[in-house]
Amino acid sequence: MKKLTAAKAKEAYEKMNDIRNFENTLHDIFAKGEIPGFVHLYAGEEAVAVGVCSHLTDSDYITSTHRGHGHCIAKGCDLKGMMAEIYGRETGLCKGKGGSMHIADLDKGMLGANGIVGSGFPLAIGAGLRNQYLGTDDVAVCFFGDGAANEGNFHESINMAAIWKLPVVFINENNTFAESTPQHYSSASPTIAERAAAYNIPGEKVDGKDFMAVYEAAGKAIDRARKGEGPSLIEYHTYREYGHFEGDEQTYKYDSDEEIAFHDRDDIKEFRAYALKKKLFTEKDAEKIEDKSVQDVADAVEFAKASPIPQPEALFTDVFAD
C-alpha cells in the first residue's frame, strides 16, 4: 500500500472540505425550501469516503447509497454538476433526471447513488466481475450502511464475491443508525465486521473518524483485491452530523455521553491536526484549501441556480439506447 504522500494528503483535505461545505450548504438551502425531495447528508463521515477513495483511480468503480454526495465528491465528481443535479437542472450530472439519490458519473467510475438500500452490493460485484473478466487490476468498492447489512443482498453478494475471489472491497459505514433504528437493535452481531467470517474473508472494525486509520485499512484491502486475493470487509465506526434526511428531528439521539463525545469528534479537524504535525501540508495550505472549498461550493450553487431546467422533451428521452 502506498504511504500517504503530501500531494495525496492535500487532495484528501480538499475533498473532505468539499464534502463538508457541500453538505452544510445543502442543509441551509433545504431549510430555505430551495430544493425538493429526499436529501441525505454525508457530513461527519468524510474521513470514510475520502480515506477509501484516496486509493482509487477513475478506472476503479464504486457503488454508493442514498447518502451518496460524499462518495461522489471523493470519487471525483464535479461539484457543479452535482449541485445542478440536486437542483434538477439540465446541466446536472444526470441532466436533472436523477436528483440527489441517483447522482452517477460513469466516467469517474461512480456507479450511482442508490435509493434502494442494499442494491449497491450486486452492482459492485458485477463491476468486480467485469474487472476480473477483462483481466484488469481495477477494483470495485461497495459502500453500505449498518442498516444495509441486514438486507439479503449483503449475504448473497459477499458470498459470491468470496467464492469467485472478486476484486471487491465492502466498506461498511456504521453510523450507528438506520433512519431512527440503532444498529445494536437491528443486527444480531455486535459488529458488522465479524460477519466477514461467515464468508471466509478478512473483516475488521476501524475508527471511521480517524482518517489515517481509514486510509490504512482500506489500502490493505484494496491492495489485496488488486492482487487477486479476493474481497474484504471493513466496518468504519462513524456518525452522521445531521438527521437521516433533511427534516428529521432526531429525537432518537443520544443515549450516552460516549455517543455525544463520539459525535462531537470532527474527522476533518483531526486530520488537519495530524497533517500539520506530520508536515503533509502547512497551516497556510490548509487555509487556502478551506477558502477555496467554500468558494467552489458557492460557485456550484450559483451555477446550479443559473442553469436552465430541463427541456420538456427530456421527459421522454434516455429510456432506451438506440
Binding site: 429526499f38 444526470c94 442494491s119 438486507e151 433512519e179 433504528t181 440503532p182 429525537t251 432518537y252 421527459l315
Partner: protein, 344 residues
C-alpha cells in the same frame, strides 16, 4: 365532524383495528422508531412513527410487541407477515415505498397470494400490506412508483387505492377485517389532504367504486389522487355544457365492473385516468373490459390518460409533466370532447 388529514385517518383506522382485535399488529421499518433506545423507552416515546409519521403514537400505546420495528430486511419481514397470517395472527406490515417490492416481491407473488389455492382452500391469509405510492413528491425514479397495477395482476390479492381521508379509514378497516391479502396503497402526496372523518369505527366495502359526481355525457373512471384531476376536468367541461360522471374506483382489484359498465351504458363515452405507467395497468384493464362487455353502448374510443412510458424523473418541471393533469386530460381527449360538443 372534524376534518383530519389523510395520514391521521390511517392512524385512526390502525388504532381502532388494534383496539378491536388484539391479533392485529404492525411491523415495518421505523414504524415505532428508536426501539431499544434507552431514553425513548424510559419515557415510552416513539421516534419516527414511520417514515411519514403515519403510525406515530401507536408504539407508545400498544407497545413494541404490537408495533414492531424491523431491520431493513423486506423480503423476510414481508414473508414473516405471511407466515404469521397463515398461523392465525392479523399482521399489517408496512412496506415504506411500493418500489420496495423489488426486494420483497416473493412474499406476495409466489407465497401469500397462492397459498390458499395451493393448499386446497385450507389457509386463510388475514394480511393487509400498507404501502406508499405515487409521483409528485420529488422522490425520483426509485421512490415514486404507482405499482398497484402489478399487484392487481396477481390472482389472490385485493388492491385498494383510496383517494380521500374518509375512504382511507373505512377501506383500511375493511381491509384489516378481510381474511385475505389486501395491498393498501397510500399516495404519499395525499397524506396532508384533509377531509371529514367520523371518529367511530366504520367500514367501506372493498370492490365498490364511488360515484363522485353524476353525469350523463361522459364517464371518467379514475383512481387515488387522480380523482381530483377528474373532478377538475368535470368542472371545466361543465362550463362547456358537458355533463361528466366521475367514478372513483377505490379498489383496483377487484374493480367494480358493474358501476363502470352501468355508467358507460348511460354515457357511451369513457376516459380513464391512471397515474401508473401506460402498459398493462388498471386503465388498460378497464378499457379492455368495457370494450368487451359494453361495446354496443360505446359512441367512440376509450381514452386512457396515464403517465408516459418512462421512469419517474426528478426535475420538478418534468415530474409535473409526468403526471396526468386536467390540461392533459382535456388535450388528449380532444376527439371525445369535440364529438360531444358537436353533438349538442
Amino acid at each position: 365532524m372534524t376534518k383530519i388529514a389523510f395520514m391521521n385517518a390511517i392512524n385512526q383506522a390502525l388504532d381502532q383495528a388494534m383496539e378491536k382485535d388484539d391479533k392485529v399488529f404492525l411491523m415495518g421499518e421505523d414504524i415505532l422508531g428508536g426501539t431499544d433506545i434507552k431514553h425513548l423507552e424510559e419515557k415510552n416515546e416513539d421516534s419516527w412513527g414511520g417514515c411519514f409519521g403515519v403510525t406515530k403514537g401507536l408504539g407508545p400505546k400498544y407497545g413494541k410487541k404490537r408495533v414492531i420495528d424491523t431491520p431493513i430486511s423486506e423480503q423476510s419481514y414481508m414473508g414473516a407477515a405471511v407466515g404469521a397470517a397463515v398461523t392465525g395472527l392479523r399482521p399489517v406490515p408496512e412496506l415504506m415505498f411500493s418500489d420496495f417490492i423489488g426486494v420483497s416481491f416473493d412474499s406476495l407473488l409466489t407465497q401469500g397470494s397462492k397459498m390458499r389455492y395451493m393448499f386446497g382452500g385450507k389457509a386463510k391469509l388475514p394480511l393487509t400490506v400498507r404501502t406508499t405510492i405515487g409521483a409528485g413528491a420529488s422522490a425520483a425514479a426509485q421512490h415514486s412508483g404507482a405499482y398497484y397495477g402489478i399487484f392487481a395482476s396477481i390472482p389472490g390479492i385485493k388492491v385498494v387505492v383510496p383517494s380521500n381521508p374518509y375512504d382511507a379509514k373505512g377501506l383500511l378497516l375493511s381491509a384489516i377485517e378481510e381474511d385475505n391479502i389486501v395491498v393498501f396503497c397510500e399516495d404519499k402526496t395525499l397524506y396532508g389532504v384533509k377531509g371529514e372523518v367520523p371518529e367511530e369505527y366504520y367500514t367501506i366495502p372493498l370492490g365498490k367504486a364511488a360515484v363522485k359526481r353524476e353525469g350523463k355525457d361522459l364517464s371518467i373512471v379514475t383512481i387515488g389522487k387522480m380523482v381530483s384531476v377528474a373532478m377538475e376536468v368535470a368542472d371545466r367541461l361543465e362550463k362547456e355544457g358537458i355533463d361528466v360522471e366521475v367514478i372513483d374506483l377505490r379498489t383496483v382489484a377487484p374493480w367494480d365492473e358493474e358501476t363502470v359498465i352501468e355508467s358507460v351504458k348511460k354515457t357511451g363515452r369513457l376516459i380513464v385516468i391512471d397515474e401508473a405507467q401506460p402498459h398493462n395497468n388498471t386503465a388498460t384493464d378497464i378499457a379492455a373490459t368495457v370494450t368487451d362487455k359494453a361495446f354496443d353502448y360505446l359512441d367512440g374510443p376509450i381514452k386512457r390518460v396515464t403517465a408516459p412510458n418512462t421512469p419517474v424523473p426528478f426535475a420538478t418541471n418534468l415530474e409535473q409533466a409526468y403526471l396526468p393533469t386536467a390540461d392533459r386530460v382535456i388535450e388528449e381527449s380532444a376527439e371525445i370532447i369535440d364529438d360531444l360538443k358537436s353533438s349538442k
